[in-house]
């Protein structure tokens, strides 16, 4: 595998620093155990008439997509490959609620139309005029990774092209309540967000990029076993990384997974990106996008407690419940 990731775009709890700017210095504090996104002034990305009709998930996705494309000087990507575990929750619930209250009668289509999982990807295609390949992955905590695998498979067959990829998930009052009941947020806090970037087989001519040389996963095994499997794969292709982007949270059920990385690479700084995103299935997409933003500005978010990487390898070491992934990246610095 060999893909270049570049041109980040995010809608998340921490606003990306503007040109030459820096990240907000205070740590982000969850409120009532949730960390909602800070929504940007969307009018810079979306016309007001269109914005009016968009749900939060669609707004986040379209804005993050536009940020990414603008950063690369592109009007549209050649293809799209997006991951979302839960899809458009707000609209799903609106339609369900009406259906319940009105006993399946006198219903209107808008919420239903917007509830389908590929709505965000479809809207991005519509608004950017992109007729290309466009898939949406909905596989729990590996949705971002599978969207990326698909992007790579597509690029292998269309080498000169550029794919917009990444992940998003939204948090609603009901989704929080239900996931809390299901034990998803044991000892950690919930988040939401969209993290997009471009993928291509050639490095961009300007701006920083990350070269993805390995993407490994484990699923449905215990944390220690996942770590063994993934460490073996990483060591086949990479020496000691300079930085680990870690998905560790205060949820101690997965400590063994992170302890194994600590044991393997004790001297390597670990940036716990979920301190700034909260926990959700596609949080890793925001972490990686923020890594690219850090490389753009030369400094990392304060809550990562690490220096911005200029060279070398970076390992993303992440879990969401029993979905584990490990990305092997190397820094391409075109500044």
């Amino acid at each position: 595998m060999n893909v270049f990731l570049h041109a980040p775009g995010t809608v998340c709890a921490a606003s990306a620093p503007g040109n030459g700017g820096s990240w907000q210095s205070e740590a982000l504090l969850p409120d009532n155990n949730r960390l909602p996104v800070v929504e940007p002034d969307y009018t810079q990305f979306i016309a007001p008439m269109q914005l009016r009709r968009m749900s939060k998930a669609v707004r986040m996705g379209v804005a993050a997509a536009r940020m990414s494309l603008t950063g690369a000087g592109l009007e549209r990507p050649d293809a799209l490959s997006i991951g979302t575990a839960m899809g458009c929750l707000q609209d799903t619930e609106v339609f369900l609620a009406k259906m319940t209250e009105q006993n399946e009668q006198m219903l209107t289509p808008t919420a239903f139309i917007q509830s389908t999982h590929n709505t965000v990807a479809g809207q991005i295609a519509l608004l950017t005029g992109c007729n290309g390949h466009n898939l949406t992955y909905v596989h729990r905590g590996l949705s971002t990774e599978h969207a990326l695998i698909n992007a790579w498979l597509y690029l292998k067959q269309h080498p000169g092209e550029t794919v917009l990829t990444g992940g998003l998930d939204e948090l609603t009052a009901s989704s929080y309540t239900l996931m809390e009941r299901a034990g998803v947020y044991a000892d950690t806090f919930a988040g939401e967000g969209a993290g997009f970037f471009l993928a291509s087989l050639e490095a961009p001519t300007k701006g920083p990029a990350l070269q993805l040389t390995g993407l490994f996963q484990a699923d449905g095994v215990d944390p220690a076993e996942a770590a063994v499997v993934l460490l073996q794969r990483v060591k086949e292709i990479s020496g000691t990384p300079q930085l680990i982007l870690s998905g560790q949270t205060t949820d101690n059920r997965y400590d063994d997974f992170y302890a194994a990385a600590e044991e393997q690479w004790p001297e390597v700084p670990k940036a716990q990106f979920k301190n700034g995103t909260g926990e959700f299935a596609t949080a890793v997409s925001v972490g990686v996008a923020q890594l690219l933003q850090s490389m753009q500005t030369g400094n990392c978010p304060s809550w990562w407690n690490v220096l911005s990487p200029r060279t070398g390898n970076i390992v993303v070491w992440n879990n969401y419940l029993d979905c584990y992934s490990c990305w092997v990246l190397s820094v391409v610095d075109n500044l």
Partner: protein, 399 residues
């Protein structure tokens, strides 16, 4: 550079016209449609909106695969079809890298929508089991773990093209040498959510549908599951089975026109078909048969028809929509129709468009309306076009 074609070695199918591939084949040959009133789905519309319902309760579905009847219905449908597809190979495939590529649009919504009213009044109401498998990926996970697919499992959701896209990705991974075997397709169950959603769009037919008919009134929703067992050359050899057919081409394109309607010329449809043919290294004249998306809506059939004429000119091969038999099975449609296409290729048989009566004004060709047997079927183009402008076409070729 491809390591191996993705060969079709087996199929699993479960629809309103039969609980497995053989019985569905029988119904297809006999012209027996599965469209009628809903008897299992509890809905205000049960006497008004005909559907292609699988006449098996959740308990009966579970018994087909040994699954837990408490699972969402989509998972039960999926498991039953995967059981049929995978059973013949499970043992022989030991040591090979096997992936599971599934798709659905409705996830565990059948359970969630029944849970929701009480939850709305009281956030602590109801059973966790009713919603913990709501997400699309959870449905896949239940089935993947049940059958022991440990190497790779994924879920796609792109509305009506979903399971065509599963098959595409699975074929790519086999061709790239990343997997030896893939069970690929999808499933979807009827739900009040979907039935009502489509009803608000006013594209449901209150009678059994008539795809590609000049007087067509809309679609009938269906449910079911369809999966292909795809294998590399190496896997075929190890399992000691012949190639029934192979995936020779695939493409996904986006109409980028409207969230739920196709552009009048069917831009996305055309691009998908064109690119799939190019991928297969075929000319339009090589296609023996088109399995149409053919839902029966005014919009789809018109756009799809025009897109076909744009590509095939006056030389449109026999084309039919099998949705008149099964209804529109949404996330399962691509997989269901891939299995039906495999039957056509292996038996040299083409199935009719049931209930067709009058030609469409906007196109020159008519769909196939009678059963054709003993025809040389070499290459089949199968279309699946969905909401969000998502258009997929697959090409299957005789081995």
């Amino acid at each position: 550079m491809i390591h191996s074609h993705a060969h079709i070695a087996g199929t699993g199918l479960l629809t309103a016209i039969g609980p497995d591939t053989a019985s569905c084949f029988e119904s297809l040959r006999n012209g027996s449609s599965g469209i009628g009133p809903a008897t299992l789905l509890s809905t205000h519309w049960k006497d008004e909106l005909p559907v292609g319902e699988v006449k098996l309760s959740n308990e009966a579905l579970a018994a087909l695969s040994g699954a837990d009847p408490q699972w969402p219905r989509t998972a039960l449908l999926s498991a039953a079809a995967v059981h049929e597809a995978w059973q013949p190979f499970a043992e022989a495939a030991q040591g090979l890298r096997c992936g599971f590529f599934s798709a659905n649009t409705v996830g565990g919504m059948d359970l969630t929508e029944s849970f929701y009213p009480a939850f709305r009044q009281d956030p602590l109401a109801g059973n966790n089991a009713s919603f913990i498998n709501h997400e699309c990926g959870a449905v896949t996970e239940l089935v993947a773990r049940h059958f022991g697919f440990r190497d790779f499992a994924t879920t796609l959701s792109t509305a009506c093209s979903s399971s065509a896209n599963s098959i595409m990705m699975a074929a790519q991974m086999i061709e790239a040498g990343l997997l030896d075997i893939a069970v690929a397709g999808g499933a979807d169950a009827l739900s009040r959510f979907t039935l009502n959603g489509f009803n608000t769009l006013m594209i449901l037919d209150r009678q059994p549908c008539q795809p590609f008919d000049g007087q067509r009134r809309g679609l009938n929703l269906g449910e079911g599951a369809g999966y292909l067992v795809l294998m590399s050359d190496k896997a075929l050899a190890q399992c000691g089975v012949p190639s029934l057919a192979y995936v020779s081409g695939y493409a996904n394109a986006n109409d980028a026109y409207h969230q739920t309607a196709s552009s009048p010329e069917g831009t996305g449809n055309q691009l998908a078909m064109q690119h799939a043919l190019a991928q297969a290294g075929l000319q339009s004249s090589d296609i023996s048969y088109i399995n149409l998306h053919g839902t029966g809506t005014a919009n789809n059939d018109s756009s799809e028809g025009k897109a076909i004429e744009a590509l095939f000119g006056t030389a449109v091969p026999p084309a039919s929509s099998t949705k008149a038999y099964t209804g529109h099975t949404l996330g399962a449609a691509g997989g269901v129709e891939a299995v039906i296409s495999t039957l056509s290729l292996t038996h040299n048989i083409l199935f009719p468009t049931l209930r067709w009566q009058t030609p469409m004004e906007e196109i020159s060709f008519r769909p196939l309306t009678e059963l054709l047997t003993g025809v040389p079927v070499q290459h089949i183009l199968s279309n699946s076009f969905g909401f969000g402008g998502n258009c997929s076409s697959l090409v299957f070729s005789k081995s």
